[in-house]
Amino acid sequence: MKVLVPVKRVIDYNVKVRVKADGSGVDLANVKMSMNPFDEISVEQAIRLKEAGQVDEIVVVSIGVKQAQETLRTALAMGADRAILVVATDDLHNDIEPLAVAKILKAIVDEEKPGLVLTGKQAIDNDMNATGQMLSALLGWSQATFASEVEIAGDKAKVSREVDGGMQTIEVTMPTVITVDLRLNEPRYASLPNIMKAKKKQMDEKTPANYGVDVTNRLEIVKTVEPAERAAGIKVASVDELVAKLKEAGAV
């Protein structure tokens, strides 16, 4: 079975995010970028499936600016077999919207014919949590989101999902789209020999036009603001006053 793993280049999770002065978004100029951590988990899962003999080829895809090739190289160094880079914009502040991404991915799935799409449940930049679900709808495939355990047997996949209030286990029919959660696995480090081998692995460069997809944004960003600073606290004189204040704030 072939598995397709879409990965996104996002602002590194260690970087302190700054909003651009005009409020149009987050400042990404000269900021460290890395693979979306959830996507790292999906790459790791694909490699584990390959090591277990359930997958024979891992194809990673990234859609965005040309620099996303670094993200793809990271995935190749971890153990993916080949990569497809879809250069959809040259503006690093232009975030291609989930529907356009899902359409491109659908076209790639039609071409590549994988038996499984494994991807992060969301990207940590915009937290859309939509691409996997949209792709599943466009393909007419089953979907299993927020996976924290994945077991594939024959044409079924058993997936434990993290939902509000606990865990839910579902069984879906393959082919399927699985979006992965934080606790599924711990991604490996790329080894030095594999980093050096990654350079020689195949990376095809495409554009949205190759897939007949229009990536014009449909959503309008009204404004972006930094979270409010924490306000100073107050001292209360007694337990009664504390309870009264908490009631006042609707906390009890």
């Binding site: 000269n30 990271t74 480090y189 080894s191 030095l192 980093i195 050096m196 350079k199």
Partner: protein, 596 residues
């Protein structure tokens, strides 16, 4: 505090100040293209900050266990070591033929700085294995290579250097350990001390490289041979055989690097440890010196790495801690707003960055000296690396002690409290000016082997390069710096090196030895000015060509700080060097009184 690899600065130094692109054109180094190197440093940085750094404080606090000759490393160390081996970080420069990666020394310099900075006590083990690999790769017979190299290169086995004996420290001529021929091998007996990672529980075997004397060996340094002595003997089929007749008698209690076992090893208590001669008899010390450049470069990088980590720690604290009103134009309410705190952090940052450039330039010359196809270029870089090594080793390590000490000062009372973690850098850094040749030994090497022996050729060559930088600086037109002033500092530094070199060449007595350490520091500071001058040129090109980032702005300001706060000390050192020798030599032992 978690170590963060300064990847942006490393890449800037590699690409813009060391000519990485040209290095990648040397035969055998074609893989090291800038994009490949960036990917390698990214992953090495992750390994340093996520695997090695979290074990640094544990190693310091918990230290080592020792019972009946066995050393126990702290929790998590073996697993980190296994990962290091699995990830291929053990010996990035080793020859591909034996399973290495064949990376340039200059790229390995970045990796070593990161790992040493994240966890110096840990990285000492791979560092010594790298030394053992070089000795075997360079001088051992094909049979020894075949038996020992692959597993040393992969890191499945580790290596050690056995030089010191109780009566033979800086003076190795006094070595007494014996080697008696016995068929195809030798029986080694004697006691070695201060053997780093001489015993540990991270690998199944340890390969000791031991200096000892043959029965008919001449006295002094020309009668010392080098032997491979494995902890477990290797059988015909390559598997582990009998335990060799050598054991760890004790480990030292030390000021720092608590998790690095410093062992006393006893060889031959039961008849003699089996050892195999490396290369020819009686030239063991030459072999050791051949590897010394690399080992000393690595200790210099350890100094840079610890200084970097201490600087990050202190900067982090200074950005959080509020104390007293700060000047309004500082823009912050935390102590980093205080001018004196910025002075301290500026000293820490600027000297660390200058030392990094010098160390990487030494590594770059090492690459050219080993791989260039042009004989002149090869010889010139060999002279350059020989000249720079004692400066990099001596200056970077002395700076790391000063930097770690300033780091404590930034923390105030909290820095003196172990809980903060700021003190560990000072305790760990303190050994770096001692092992692999003390600063005094580096200084004697600089004035003796590196200046007097070639009548100042290598030193005056670097003076020419400094003047070339000064000329380019003087030609700059942009507004990002006061270029004539920067040019003046660099040409002034070139003049100091030239004058001091000539002064050394003119002396007939012990004067140069008396002030050798001052000479070494002057070389460090003045060559730092040259390196920082080149950094300003690159940063200025970015700033004025509108490709400048906050990094380039900070670099330019750091260069200006270095030129104003650090370089003037070289003038004072110059006065000391040419004037102070008589006052040192006049002091007789009796003038210090009698130690009752």
């Amino acid at each position: 505090m978690t170590y963060n690899a300064p990847i942006e600065d490393m890449i800037f130094v590699l690409e813009e100040l060391c000519g990485l692109k040209d290095i990648a054109e040397l035969p055998g180094l074609e893989e090291a293209t800038p994009d490949m190197v960036a990917a390698i440093l990214e992953e090495a940085g992750k390994f340093a900050s996520q695997v090695l750094s979290p074990l640094n404080a544990v190693g310091d606090i918990k230290g080592l266990g020792f019972d009946k000759g066995e050393v126990t490393t702290p929790d998590g160390w073996k697993s980190a070591y296994d990962q290091l081996v699995e990830m291929g970080w053990n010996s990035p420069t080793a020859d591909g033929e034996h399973g290495g990666m064949g990376l340039p020394a200059v790229v390995n310099a970045c990796i070593q700085e990161m790992f040493q900075g994240a966890n110096a006590a840990f990285q000492l083990c791979p560092m010594l294995t790298q030394g053992a690999i070089e000795a075997v790769e360079g001088f051992a017979s094909p049979a020894l290579k075949e038996t020992y190299l692959p597993k040393l290169v992969s890191g499945e086995w580790t290596g050690t250097m056995n030089l010191t004996e109780p009566q033979a420290g800086s003076d190795l001529a006094a070595i007494r350990s014996k080697a008696v021929p016995q068929g195809d091998h030798y029986l080694i007996s004697g006691q070695k001390i201060y053997i780093t990672h001489g015993e540990h529980d991270m690998t199944e075997n340890i390969i000791h490289l031991v200096l000892a004397r043959l029965p008919d060996a001449p006295a002094g340094v020309k009668g010392i041979s080098l032997f491979v002595v494995p902890k477990f003997l290797i059988t015909e089929d390559g598997s582990l055989g009998e335990r060799n007749d050598m054991r760890c008698v004790s480990i030292e209690h030390k000021l720092g690097i608590h998790a690095s076992p410093t062992c006393t090893l006893a060889f031959g208590d039961n008849g003699g440890a089996v050892g195999y001669l490396v290369g020819e008899p009686n030239v063991g010390l030459q072999y050791m010196f051949a590897m010394m450049n690399n080992a000393r470069l690595n200790v210099g990088l350890q100094g840079v790495g610890i200084a970097e980590h201490a600087t990050q720690h202190a900067t982090h604290y200074a950005m959080e801690r509020k104390q007293g009103g700060t000047p309004e134009d500082s823009g912050v309410a935390t102590i980093i707003g205080h001018p004196d705190v910025r002075r301290m952090l500026g000293l820490m940052k600027s000297r660390t960055e200058a030392a990094r450039i010098l160390a990487y330039r030494a590594a770059r010359s090492l690459d050219y000296s080993q791989r260039s196809v042009d004989a002149n270029e090869k010889a010139r870089h060999q002279r350059r690396v020989d000249l720079l090594i004692p400066v990099v080793k001596g200056w970077s390590t002395e700076l790391s002690v000063q930097t770690a000490s300033l780091g404590i000062q930034v923390h105030g009372g909290m820095g003196y409290v172990e809980e903060t973690g700021a003190a560990q850098y000072l305790r760990d850094a303190r050994i770096t000016t001692i092992y692999e040749g003390t600063t005094g030994i580096q200084a004697l090497d600089l004035i003796g082997r590196k200046i007097l022996r070639d009548r100042g050729k290598a030193a005056l060559e670097i003076v020419r390069d400094m003047r070339a930088t000064a000329l380019v600086l003087a030609d700059q037109q942009g507004s990002s710096a006061d270029w004539p002033a920067l040019s003046g500092v660099v040409s002034g530094s070139a003049e100091l090196i030239e004058n001091v070199t000539n002064w050394i060449l003119e002396q007939n007595g012990h004067e140069p030895q008396a002030v050798a350490t001052d000479v070494l520091e002057l070389f460090g500071i003045a060559l730092g000015a040259w390196a920082m001058g080149d950094a300003a040129l690159s940063a200025g090109r970015h700033i004025e060509g509108r490709s400048g980032t906050a990094y380039h702005d900070a670099k330019m300001k750091t260069v200006k700080f270095y030129m104003a706060n650090v370089v003037p000390h070289a003038n004072a050192l110059s006065m000391i060097i040419t004037g102070a020798a008589p006052s040192i030599l006049n002091l007789k032992a009796s003038d210090f009184g009698t130690a009752a």
